[in-house]
């Protein structure tokens, strides 16, 4: 089972970067992708992130999430087509020949364009955060956030939320199997998913609540909340960090110049 957003133990380019560099990386990527409305530029950003994933030897992990990202992208496009008509009509979801409701939901160029922009932004954000999270040990994340003066309880909440993802994946799978073995057949597709809510989600939530109680006690009993820590094996800034920071500064500067001088290219 592919684990979502979990640290992968490797020694690639991204792994060697200081967490602060990676935080800067996601800030720059997020700001640019939120400001940009040009589809080609967003496609370029997705491509750049995939190249970076390849350089960091993390392309397999990133590609594993591609299915989820593509499904979400299609959902975005469908939602915008239904809710945000605009521009030229290029067809209809319900053909015009159908009596009464024919031609009810027009497919417009404006809606598709907005949908694609949203989908591409989503891709950039997911890939950037994924590169950050799968290449940074939670311990380093805790240290970096501590240095940014975030309260330890919030840091631990963030770490635990991430850490619970694979646990819930595995637990959900076990519960699903246990119910199937009792002859449960919720069916496939969306309807099946809705039907399986009670037999799967109730045990999942109940078990997780019990587990989170133990987890909370463990955190206290290991003294993580005392905040008094010996600094050991701290990450130091290396050549890769300087190269990455330079690259990010140049990208940000170029984006600002283009946005001011040639706004049509990016907006």
């Amino acid at each position: 089972m592919a684990e979502i957003l979990q640290y992968v133990h490797k020694d690639g380019f991204f792994h060697r970067l200081h967490p602060f560099t990676k935080i800067l990386f996601i800030i720059v990527a997020s700001i640019i992708c939120i400001l940009v409305t040009s589809i080609p530029v967003l496609v370029l950003m997705v491509a750049a992130l995939l190249v970076l994933a390849f350089i960091g030897d993390l392309h397999r992990e990133v590609i594993q999430q591609l299915k989820l990202v593509l499904v979400m992208s299609v959902v975005f496009v469908i939602i915008t087509v239904i809710t945000m008509p605009g521009g030229e009509i290029i067809g209809h979801v319900i053909p015009q020949g159908v009596p009464v409701i024919g031609g009810a939901i027009p497919i417009t160029t404006g809606a598709i364009s907005v949908g694609l922009i949203l989908a591409l932004r989503f891709m950039v954000l997911i890939f950037a955060f994924q590169l950050f999270l799968i290449s940074t040990q939670p311990r380093d994340l805790v240290h970096s956030m501590e240095k940014l003066h975030m309260p330890i309880d919030y840091i631990l909440m963030f770490i635990i939320a991430l850490r619970f993802i694979p646990t819930l994946q595995i637990e959900g799978q076990r519960i699903h199997e246990a119910q199937l073995a009792r002859g449960y057949n919720p069916g496939t597709g969306m309807l099946g998913k809705v039907r399986s809510v009670a037999p799967i989600v109730i045990p999942l939530v109940s078990n997780s609540l019990m587990r989170s109680n133990v987890l909370g006690l463990t955190i206290d009993m290991r003294g993580y909340r005392t905040g008094v820590r010996t600094h050991i094996r701290e990450r130091k800034f290396c050549g890769g960090d300087y190269a990455m920071i330079s690259g990010l500064c140049i990208t940000a500067a170029m984006f600002t110049v283009i946005a001011v001088l040639l706004p049509a290219l990016v907006f």
């Binding site: 311990r139 006690l217 009993m221 290991r222 010996t230």
Partner: protein, 476 residues
């Protein structure tokens, strides 16, 4: 040293006391093992002994707990108590926070105010002591149950406390992994650590125990040196499971009529081959135990019986039907599978509704008789209107069996049905299964407990690395 005197405790929203006027002294360098039926208050005792009950839980409390002479209420909180006591809970999965074994231990070491050199030294020593050096870069989530438990223990050892409390550290572990944990704990005792261990596997811990405590209904019913405590026959049956007499030769099995056949069955998880050319036949009405260490392929094998997994190659036939031609829900009529953790299936509001769920899945809406019969069979008819999760571990295990029995499958498969149960409960579960065999069911039990297999089953199939290595008939 921990001293509990006159501890009584009632959990919020309940009326029954979880602990009743309990007094216990844990002297330095000693090892106390606490055992008893589920729901007896063993875990609550652990929570009381390390002050968690007094700092984190509501409810009614009475009595005093002191740690090294200091009242636990005088500590500022758990973080301060953690400087004196380390605790390992029974669910190792819930205690693993970080992404590599080394990171898990290192993170615990960092908060002890030690110098960096000292941290590195202790890290190496703990990895060595818990046999985790080779696994230091592995993700804890991908380790076996025994390895996970060792990581949880290692992270607690990192605290460097002299008092350790362990709540069922081996409950889901096989023989090998249990022996490893016992070995580590024996080493810790030798170092002078004080140990309070809740355990059901008395025989494994025998050499370690200075004082054996047996708890029932929130109170201590026996305490003393193991030999002294075990002189009482009733107490002995709680501590040491006695399966004698469960197997009888009178059960009407028909080995010549196959209920289940596997032919050259192989199964691979991505690149890992979990089953290799497994061929065996189980006759109707047989009671078969499948034994083997964790990872030997036992669970993978039984998941093929109802098509939760489909063979990579080879065939499985249930009552003459090839599973490849059947759906999981069709096979559920013939094969009932009870998983190791009953909590994976309970979601209904009452015990009755939980059993009715399986029947409804088979299209039987008026199954009152079947529900009552199944609950009577496992001795739980009186709990019919209770919330399933309120039952004790042993009762929940029997309810899981009832859920499957009500569906009247010919073949009943159980994955480690005695996990976490005391001697009496384990015997009750095995006797229930024997009764089902007498009713004509074919029973297949997965276990890593050889004793259960030898005392209860008609036939023992041993597995190793995805293969059947022996197939022994215990009765003619």
């Amino acid at each position: 040293m921990i001293e509990l005197s006159g501890i009584s405790y009632t959990y919020p929203h309940t009326v029954q006391e979880a602990l009743h006027d309990l007094s216990l002294e844990l002297a330095p360098g000693r090892c106390i093992v606490v055992t008893g039926p589920s729901g007896a208050g063993k875990t609550t005792l652990c929570l009381a002994a390390c002050g968690i009950l007094f700092h984190e839980y509501g409810g009614k409390k009475a009595g005093i707990v002191t740690i090294n002479g200091r009242d636990v209420s005088a500590y500022s909180g758990l973080s301060e108590i953690a400087k004196d006591i380390g605790i390992v809970f029974d669910d190792p999965e819930a205690q693993l926070i970080f992404t590599t074994v080394e990171e898990e231990i290192l993170s615990a070491l960092e908060y002890r105010g030690l110098a960096p050199d000292e941290i590195e030294k202790r890290l190496a020593s703990i990895l060595d002591q818990t046999y985790l050096s080779a696994l230091r870069d592995r993700s804890p989530h991908h380790l076996s149950g025994g390895q996970k438990q060792r990581v949880a223990l290692a992270a607690t050892l990192a605290l460097g406390n002299d008092i350790l409390i362990l709540d069922e550290p081996t409950s889901e572990l096989d023989e090998h992994a249990t022996r490893r944990i016992v070995e580590i704990l024996a080493g810790l005792k030798k170092q002078g650590k004080t140990l309070l261990i809740v355990e059901h596997k008395y025989t494994h811990f025998r050499e370690l125990i200075d004082t054996l405590v047996v708890m029932e209904h929130g109170a201590i019913s026996a305490i003393g040196a193991p030999d002294e405590v075990l002189r009482d026959g009733r107490i002995k049956r709680i501590v040491i499971p006695d399966f004698a007499g469960i197997r009888d030769n009178a059960a009407a099995s028909h080995p010549s009529e196959p209920a289940l056949v596997t032919r050259d069955l192989s199964y691979s998880y991505e690149e890992v081959c979990a089953l290799k050319n497994v061929s065996f036949t189980v006759g109707r009405g047989e009671f078969v135990a499948v034994v083997g260490e964790n990872g030997s392929g036992k669970t993978t094998l039984v998941k093929q019986f109802n098509r939760l997994l489909t063979p990579t190659s080879g065939d499985v036939e249930i009552l003459g039907k090839n599973t490849k031609n059947c759906t999981i829900s069709e096979l559920a009529k013939d094969v009932g599978l009870v998983f190791q953790n009953p909590d994976h299936m309970f979601f209904a509001d009452t015990v009755h509704d939980e059993v009715a769920f399986g029947l409804a899945n088979l299209g039987i809406s008026d199954g009152e008789k079947a529900i009552d019969a199944a609950l009577t069979e496992v001795g739980l008819l009186h709990t019919k209107d209770l919330y399933p999760r309120w039952l004790s571990r042993g009762e929940r295990q029997r309810l899981a069996i009832a859920c499957v029995v009500a569906m009247q499958p010919e073949v009943i498969v159980l994955d480690e049905p005695t996990t976490g149960l005391d001697g009496d409960e384990a015997r009750l579960v095995m006797a229930t299964l024997k009764k089902l065999q007498h009713r004509g069911h074919t029973v297949i039990v997965i276990t890593h407990n050889r004793e259960i297999a030898e005392q209860c089953a008609d036939r023992i199939v041993a597995m190793e690395q995805g293969r059947i290595v022996s197939d022994t008939r215990m009765v003619n």
